[in-house]
Each structure stands twice: as structure tokens, then as C-alpha cells.
């Protein structure tokens, strides 16, 4: 964590020490620690590869995800089609790459929604305390008792209805985004709305404990306004657990989207999603297992990689949880 300000002679002493040894700081030492975790580094490389495939490759592909070639339906892997083709003669690799776009976008965007709701809620509850705290924590308790998947599907259905017919204003923006992402805006918002609880709790807990620290009191004594205390002192010291929670939240969001698309409620065909590809593969899985294996394998590996990265980050960022 950040060093608390020192006083008088000890400052001079600390500066002397700092001149002799190279100061690496909190993030520097975390990075060192992270690099030592081989599994986490390999996972990070894997995710970078997937991200490159998702962001850069699609325009370079000879065909798009919806391109059908009925002369080559249900082929196994070959040079022309490294992962084979599906029942409509679409190239599975191409669809996997577009599916990576969907999955990574869901992972990241849902976390942004979670941060946008969870951090202010946690800060408000922890910093303001009293009635606000009670109200927010009650809300958290109620949402904890909501069956998540059901709630996400309900919110999604609701939003899809709202975006359906000729929306205007802000809804128009969402609606455009929705058609570009294959109808997943409902999933982003729904998942965000049910998953911000953990982040809010983390932020609240650390705000509660930090707020009593001497250096915060000192800042307040010097006349710093609440907004500055939050921005300069509370948030920077809360960021490590937030980073860990956010990273570990990504695989959950990816699995949720895959699951919802698997049920046929997520992405709108012909846009591919790994979950939808898995469910499409099921009826044919005995005769054409490659249709199931590739999306299932890549989905699991991606989730696995994010979990390893999250674990690595936790070990690197949280000196007290090291094991």
C-alpha cells in the first residue's frame, strides 16, 4: 500500500536510503511479483493472442462469420478450414474469431458497468455512513437474494423490448450499439446490475477502515474537501482489491454470456458466440465432435487464463493474502 507520510528527520533518512537503493514502488513490486508467476504470465500471453485475433484479424479474413458455402458443409479440420465447417458450410475458425470479439467485449464492458455502479455505491456507503449506508446495504442484501440468472434474463428481455421499436435519444445510441454487438446490450446491463455487489462491498469495507487512518484525518484537518479525500486518498488505496475483483469478474461474465447464448437468449444469429456454437453443436456432436470441441475448449481456456491472471494479480497486489 502507499507509504504514509513520515515526519522530520525520518524523511531525510528515508531519502538517503532511497538514493542508494532503486525505488520500485507499489506497482513496480507488484509487477515483479506477477512476472515470477509463470502460470499467470502464460495466461496473459494467451489472452493477448485471443485479443489480437479478436481485434485485428477479422478484417483480414477471406470471409465473414455469416458466409455460407453449401458445398463444404460439416467438414472436419483441413488446411482450408483449420477448425472445419458447420452445417451451413460456414468456416468454424472465422466464427470462433468473431466469437472471441463477443466474449472479450462482454468480459470488459460488464466490468465497466460493475465499476460504474459498484465504486460510487461502495464509496457512498462507506464514506457517508449512517442512513445512506443502511439503505445501500439493504439493497445489496435484497439483490444477493435475487436468483441471478433469472434476473439477468428478465432485465435483458425488458431492455430488448425497449430497444425494439424505433427508439430515440439516448436509447438510439444503445440500440445502435445493440445491433453492432449482436443484441448483447441487455446482457451487459443486466449482468452489471446483478454483479456490482461484490465490488461495492469491497470498496465499502476498505473505505470504512481507511477513513479512520491518521493520514486521512490529517488531510481533513488541513481542510481538504470530501471530494479530494476520496479522489486523492481513498480511491488510490482501494484500487488494488478493485483490480483483483475486476479481473476475477471477467471470466464469470464471459461464462454468463456463453450460457445465455447457449439458451438461445443472448446473441442474435447469425452473429456467433462461443456459447451459441456449443449449443448448435450438441445435436450433431456424435458425428461431428469438432463442432463442440473447439468452442468448448477455447471458452474454457479463456476463462481459465483470466482466473490464473486474477490469482496472480491477487498474490502480487495483496501482500497479506500471499500463499
Amino acid at each position: 500500500m502507499q507509504a504514509t507520510p513520515q515526519v522530520g528527520t525520518s524523511v531525510a533518512a528515508a531519502q538517503a536510503v532511497a538514493r542508494e537503493t532503486k525505488v520500485i514502488g507499489f506497482w513496480g513490486s507488484a509487477w515483479r511479483q506477477f512476472r515470477r508467476n509463470r502460470l499467470a504470465v502464460v495466461s496473459a500471453c494467451f489472452i493477448v493472442l485471443i485479443a489480437i485475433a479478436a481485434v485485428i484479424v477479422p478484417p483480414l479474413l477471406p470471409q465473414t462469420y455469416a458466409h455460407q458455402d453449401l458445398s463444404v458443409t460439416l467438414q472436419g479440420p483441413s488446411w482450408r478450414h483449420p477448425m472445419g465447417t458447420d452445417d451451413l458450410g460456414r468456416d468454424v475458425l472465422t466464427r470462433m474469431i468473431f466469437g472471441a470479439r463477443i466474449s472479450l467485449t462482454v468480459g470488459v464492458v460488464v466490468q465497466l458497468v460493475i465499476l460504474a455502479i459498484g465504486v460510487p455505491m461502495g464509496l457512498a456507503a462507506g464514506y457517508l455512513g449512517g442512513k445512506v449506508d443502511m439503505l445501500i446495504m439493504r439493497l445489496v442484501d435484497v439483490l444477493y437474494a435475487m436468483p441471478n440468472l433469472l434476473f439477468v434474463i428478465l432485465i435483458m428481455t425488458f431492455l430488448r423490448g425497449q430497444l425494439g421499436d424505433e427508439p430515440s435519444g439516448a436509447l438510439k445510441v444503445l440500440s445502435d450499439l445493440d445491433s453492432k454487438t449482436g443484441g448483447l446490450v441487455g446482457v451487459y446491463i443486466g449482468l452489471g446490475l446483478v454483479s456490482w455487489l461484490t465490488v461495492a462491498r469491497i470498496v465499502r469495507a476498505s473505505t470504512l477502515s481507511l477513513k479512520e487512518k491518521e493520514y486521512i484525518e490529517a488531510a481533513r484537518g488541513l481542510g481538504a474537501p470530501g471530494s479530494q479525500i476520496i479522489r486523492k486518498h481513498l480511491l488510490p488505496n482501494t484500487i488494488a482489491p478493485i483490480v483483483v475483483a475486476t479481473t476475477l469478474g471477467i471470466p464469470g461474465a464471459i461464462l454468463y454470456e456463453a450460457g445465455i447464448s447457449f439458451l438461445g437468449l443472448g446473441v442474435i444469429p447469425p452473429m456467433p458466440s462461443w456459447g451459441l456454437m456449443i449449443s448448435d453443436a450438441l445435436p450433431e456432436m456424435r458425428s461431428h465432435p469438432h463442432l463442440l470441441i473447439f468452442p468448448a475448449l477455447v471458452l474454457s481456456l479463456t476463462v481459465l487464463a483470466f482466473n490464473f491472471i486474477g490469482d496472480g494479480l491477487r498474490d502480487a497486489l495483496d501482500p497479506w493474502m500471499k500463499r
Binding site: 436468483p147 440468472l149 433469472l150 437468449l265 456459447g275 450438441l282 468448448a296 481456456l301 481459465l304
Partner: protein, 310 residues
Amino acid sequence: MNRGAYIIRRVLLLIPTLLAIYTLTFLLIHATPGGPWSQGEKPVPPLVLERLNAAYGLDDPLWKQYVNYLGNALQGDFGPSFAQRSRTVTDIIGQTFPVSLKLGLVAMVIALVIGITLGTIGALKHNGFLDYVTSFVAIIGISTPSYVVVSLLVLVLSSQFGWLPTGGWDGVVSTKIIIPALALSLYPSAVLARYTRSSMLDVLNADYIRTARAKGLTQRMVVIRHAIRNALIPVLTVSGVILADVITGSFFVESVYSVPGLGRYFVSSISERDYPVILGTVLLFGFVISVMNLIVDLLYPLLDPRIATR
């Protein structure tokens, strides 16, 4: 606050929680465009639509529908299903929920056995080969969705070798439960293994364990007599939440393996705008989850006297 008052307060808190869940769900489904009767291939004639709405009270003002349904629900009547008009929601839930419940309980038992065993092995062989193996198995369990596991199990055990049936349900004592229960138990096993491992490691470093070792107990006796009891406290508390999760969350397994549980119903009820079924299911699941949370919170201080009740 004394313990009795605390318990009563917590039980009473269930009421506003469920009421909030009901209100949220009610508002959401009624704000969603489309009604229960417009889902068929042919559009329903306006006159029929009017009569249907009148017969099911859907032409009442919203607040009246809200109060009516709530009043009936409190008396145990969750209304008729809109999609299958001859059945009531209570019927449907009564028939399908026990299936999900049994499947969930069997999966939970499997998960407890596998999870605690793997976690204990991992902790005892800390940083050894077996630790890595069990940790790896656990993280694979966390990363693989249950519908993939069911499909793979069916592919290998049913199609390839023909040992087990490819789908269906015949009650708990049947070969048909093996695949869905295993698939459903994988994720909770993995979570329980991770919890057991880390809490066992904490306990094994405690002073009283050193004392037990110092008085000459074998590793086996130390673990069985002293370590496992304390190590299982956090595991047991997380089990409550996991159990609620397993019971209410078997949609995927149920739909792939054709198990006639409640999960399959719910998904179709949303697209059919079957309001009573949606409300009934959400309330039931909300109730199960809240009660599990409550049990965990009340058990915790009993299991671990070091933690005082607030």
C-alpha cells in the same frame, strides 16, 4: 442484543426482502412489451384478447394486479399458468421443483465429498506434486460450464461406451442421475476444494496443531481429530450459498439432459410472458437463497464461538 431477538429480527427481515424481490420482478415483467397472448403463430383476434385479459384480470389497473397477486400468493395461490391454462403455478412448481431439488442435493453431496477430499489433500501436500494436481483439477472445474461437462460426459459415457443413458429422469435411485449430478457437482466441488485447501492451510499453521504434533500424534490423527473440524467451518458456511446455487441453477444441465426440473420451465416462461410462473419461480428461488443465507449466518457463531453474535 440477545440471540433470540437477533434470530427473530433476521427471520422477519425475510419479509421485506421477498417483498422487494416481488415488486422488482413485477415491475420488470409488466414494463416489458408484449403480453402472454401474442406469442403464437397467429395473432389473437381483438375480441378474444379482450376476453382473455378480462378473465385473467390483466385489464385491471397495474396496482390492483399487484395487490391481487400478492394477496393470493400469501394464501399459497400463485395463479394459473398462462401458457398451460389447465395447470396452476403451484401444480407446476410442485411437480418440477422436487426434481431440481433432488438433483441438486445429490450433486451437493458429491461436491462435498470430492471438494473436501481434494482440498485436504492439497493442503497436506502443500506445494507438492499432489497439491498442483488437485489445484489444477479445481481450476478446470471452475472454468468449464456445466453444459459442456454434460455434453462431454454424454459423448464419452453414453455414446462411446454405452454405459449410461443419454438423457431423462427416473428419480434418485437410477443410472440416469449419474451424468447430470456429476456435471452439476463439478463447479461446486472445485469451489469447495479451494475453500477447504486454504482454510486447512490456515488451521495447520495454528499453535494448537503444533501442540498436537508435539504430544506425538500421527499426521492422520492430527488431521482427523483436530485440524478438520476447524478447517471445515468456512467450508460449511460457503456450502449454504453453494447449495442454494445448485438447487436453483441447474437450467443448463436440465435442458441438455432432458431432466423435467423447474429450470427448463423458467426459461420458456419468460419468452412466453407467463407472468404467474415467472413470479412464482423468482419468489421460490429468492426464498431458498434467503433462507440458506440466513441459516449460514445463524450457524456461523454456533460453529465458531470465537465469532460473537452482533
